[in-house]
């Protein structure tokens, strides 16, 4: 199948809608139970589209001078947080775009944001520092400076925040911010995902490997041999399958049984350019993958992480993000030139 051009979605992907923002669609996702799709772009705007039609719902251009860099949608779906090159964290009402709190963090880039799973806290990072805010934007905690720029944030359960930077993953217990654990490894950790129960930490590393830790035992393993750096990672929501980029193939590690060590990962081959986005279907085992040439593929996976394509579409620009609608019946792709495309997804 590689080399074949697909202009129309095939398989489980059905024609939906497409729309445009002003520049690189950098972050966002579905809000209001799939009623709206929110997109922040590198021109600094925040845009909302109707989930079913793609009709513009609201837009706030110039929200972040210099460009937006990150966004996180509150688990209840009614609030959007964005961060940008203006050093601010901004909150928005997902329904109408009304601005909420505008939080001045620092003179650097706000590169990462993550709402806690229960929605009580919002973690943000700028340079080497992490701050935690309440839902209303009240600052609750500041981290001590990390040894290098924070490269990822993730919550481990409701009240433990994990941060990644060069050489380590650190855990802070909220609301006091006490350091509860530190996992060290000499290497540049560039991405991080946690299994939903917070037990497994997976980091992509600059040296073309994926590093895992199990929190309870501290046991770690390194999966090397990737041709490129695995900057995109995704866990399914049962914490059984970890999909990783780092080449034209998607490599899927299964944590069934004794875990992925000494097993053969699933290798999903169809993309012809490196993987740039990965997302698991909620409450299911289908995986969406996007690549730098604009291809989006939907895969059905078995428990060992092996799988077959079940849907495919070719867009013209590199895929910058993939977002499943919370009900699993829709998938949105963002691209590097500001196109936003949504498909209906069949079973």
């Amino acid at each position: 199948m590689p080399g074949v051009t697909f202009n129309q979605p095939k398989g489980a992907l059905r024609v939906g809608w497409s729309a445009n923002v002003d520049d690189y669609a950098i972050a966002g996702g579905w809000a209001l139970n799939g009623e709206a799709l929110l997109v922040a772009d590198s021109a600094g705007g925040v845009h909302a589209f109707e989930g079913t039609s793609g009709k513009p719902r609201w837009a706030r251009r110039g929200a972040h001078a210099g460009g937006a860099m990150t966004a996180s949608i509150h688990p209840e779906g009614a609030t959007l947080a964005t961060g940008g090159q203006d050093g601010h964290v901004r909150l928005w009402n997902a329904r109408d775009g009304a601005p909420g709190a505008a939080l001045a963090f620092g003179d650097g880039w706000v590169e990462h944001l993550a709402w806690s799973p229960d929605g009580r806290w919002l973690a943000a990072s700028c340079k080497r520092e992490v701050r935690v805010y309440s839902m209303s934007g009240e600052e609750l905690w500041r981290s001590p400076p990390h040894p290098s720029t924070v490269s990822a944030l993730a919550w481990s359960g409701a009240d433990v925040l994990a941060t990644a930077c060069y050489g380590r993953v650190t855990f802070f217990r909220m609301p006091t911010g006490g350091e509860s654990q530190r996992l060290e490894w000499k290497g540049s950790l560039i991405s991080m995902v946690l299994s939903p129960d917070g037990e497994i930490i997976a980091c992509g590393s600059q040296d073309n490997s994926v590093h895992f830790w199990r929190r309870s035992s501290g046991q770690d393993s390194m999966m090397s041999g990737y041709p490129g750096k695995p900057a995109v990672l995704a866990f399914d929501d049962k914490g059984r399958l970890l999909a990783t980029g780092g080449s034209e193939a998607v490599t899927v590690w299964s944590f069934e049984g004794d875990g992925p060590e000494d097993t053969e990962p699933g290798v999903l081959e169809l993309h012809v350019m490196p993987i740039s986005a990965l997302a698991f279907e909620p409450r299911a085992q289908r995986l969406a993958s996007g690549s730098r040439d604009g291809a989006v593929v939907l895969w059905t996976l078995n428990q060992a992480g092996h799988g077959e394509p079940c849907g495919v579409v070719q867009l013209p620009q590199p895929i910058s993000g993939l977002h499943w609608r919370p009900d699993g019946r829709g998938l949105a792709a963002f691209d590097a030139c500001g196109s936003v495309t949504a498909w209906r997804v069949g079973k």
């Binding site: 520049d23 690189y24 290098s148 600059q206 900057a231």
Partner: protein, 449 residues
């Protein structure tokens, strides 16, 4: 897709990086430039996007120094890629103490950076007034000179011409690949620092068919204002029984015209010299060899049809042979003509610094298996000490020229254009610490097919 060129600006604190950067940014070149700064400068120019980032050096778990990269650059460039329509050039200004290795390696090691950006060149500013102390004290200043594609000797107004010549000789000894410019207040034309294609060997070789900047076969130049008529050049006994020389007419005394004549004289030196006994007339613009075995002062004649400025490019310094130019006035009185300008040049093989360059030039075809084995071993054993290398090779049975370059152990080579009618030959340049020129030259010669 065209990659965005990136220029790296290095140099010690106070060497003039910010002044040069301001100059680049304020020039009307129509380019939108993004600047990544690692020290807080005072730049505020509308058409430039300035990003401040702290230097973050990321070593890898395998301990390999060539895998060490600059995390801050990966992050900032990664974000710049997302606004590619907004700029078309990037300048990275490093801190004074920065090691250029990880900066350069970032452009080879990171697949995303490599797919969007191309390292255009490394520019090092040298504070002519303070560099000798800095070179003694820190390995960073040495490495910044060793890595450079362009060396700007700045603040030349604060040192004497003789000190400047000695400094140029010293840095040329360390780095034979770099172009050298002299400047006051970092005044160099923008085109000598941007758009160099120093890492795009095919393009670089079209601009100039050699990687080796000349180490001049002459040590000294004197410029004399001379009237029409007959002049005498006299020399005492010196360290050698002969000395070669080229006399150039219409010689300017500024740096650029001296350098232009120097390049021209390098080519004259490649011609067989005309041996001249004492009393002979020196033909203008010819490579001559003055025979100086006889004891006492010896004179040679220079005949000029019109008044002109003459540049004497001499194999040794004037001092060593007490060289004098004189003119007999109508009264019969002998008058010594003073120099209008003089300068010394880097002579071959006079290097005291630990860091130096090895240039190898050899005719003949090379066996690729032997070459691979040699380069492989050299980089394994000496990669840490080799900062930069470049070369082109004539491989046996290969109609195309093989070009390569490297930074530490990172080696990047491929065949490029066909040799066509050009003479097939080999040229390699290595810049590194404690390199053994003789053994490297010998070992390369063993790779001949």
């Amino acid at each position: 897709m065209k990659k965005i060129p990136v220029t790296v600006l290095t140099g010690f604190l106070g060497s003039g990086k910010t002044t040069l950067l301001n100059r680049i940014l304020s020039e009307q070149h129509g380019k939108r430039i993004a600047v990544i700064e690692n020290e807080f400068g005072e730049i505020g120019i509308d058409q430039a996007l300035i990003i401040n980032a702290d230097e973050e050096i990321f070593e890898m778990s395998n301990g390999c120094i060539c895998c060490t990269v600059r995390g801050d650059l990966i992050r900032v460039l990664g974000n710049l890629m997302k606004r590619r329509d907004k700029f078309d050039y990037v300048v990275v200004e490093t801190t004074g103490m920065a090691d250029p290795g990880p900066v350069a390696q970032t452009f080879f090691m990171d697949d995303e950076v490599r797919s969007e950006f191309a390292l255009d060149g490394i520019i090092t500013l040298v504070d002519a007034h303070h560099v000798n102390q800095q070179l003694g004290r820190s390995k960073e200043s040495t490495e910044q000179i060793a890595f450079a594609d362009v060396l700007v000797l700045n603040k030349t107004d604060l040192v004497s011409p003789a000190e400047l010549d000695a400094l140029e000789a010293r840095v040329r000894g360390m780095n034979r690949m770099a172009k050298i410019y002299r400047a006051e207040r970092a005044q160099v034309p923008v085109e000598v620092v941007l758009g160099l294609d120093a890492f795009d060997l095919d393009k670089a070789l079209i601009k100039k068919p050699t990687f080796l900047e000349p180490e001049y076969p002459f040590e000294w130049t004197g410029v004399y204002d001379l009237a029409a008529g007959r002049h005498e050049i006299s020399l005492a006994e010196g360290p050698d029984p002969s000395m070669s020389l080229v006399a150039v007419v219409d010689q300017g005394s500024d740096d650029a015209s001296l350098r232009a004549s120097a390049e021209w004289c390098v080519r004259r030196w490649a011609e067989t010299p005309l041996a001249l006994a004492a009393g002979a007339t020196i033909p203008l613009g010819r490579h001559v060899e003055l025979q100086l075995q006889a004891p006492g002062r010896k004179s040679f004649v220079l005949e000029l049809e019109r008044p002109t400025r003459v540049g004497l490019f001499t194999q040794h310094t004037a001092e060593e042979f007490e060289l004098q130019v004189s003119q007999r006035a109508t009264s019969g009185e002998e008058r010594v003509v003073p120099t209008q300008a003089e300068r010394t040049w880097v002579a071959q093989h006079e290097h005291d610094d630990e860091v130096g360059s090895v240039g190898i030039e050899l005719d003949g075809d090379i066996d690729d298996k032997k070459l691979n084995a040699w380069i492989g071993r050299l980089l394994r054993e000496r990669g840490v000490d080799i900062f930069r290398m470049k070369g082109f090779i004539s491989l046996v049975g290969e109609p195309r020229r093989f070009v390569f370059q490297g930074v530490h152990m990172l080696f990047d080579g491929q065949p490029d254009r066909p040799w066509g009618d050009a003479p097939r030959r080999n040229q390699l340049v290595f810049i590194g610490r404690n390199l053994d020129r003789e053994s490297m030259t010998r070992e390369f010669a063993r790779c001949l097919a």
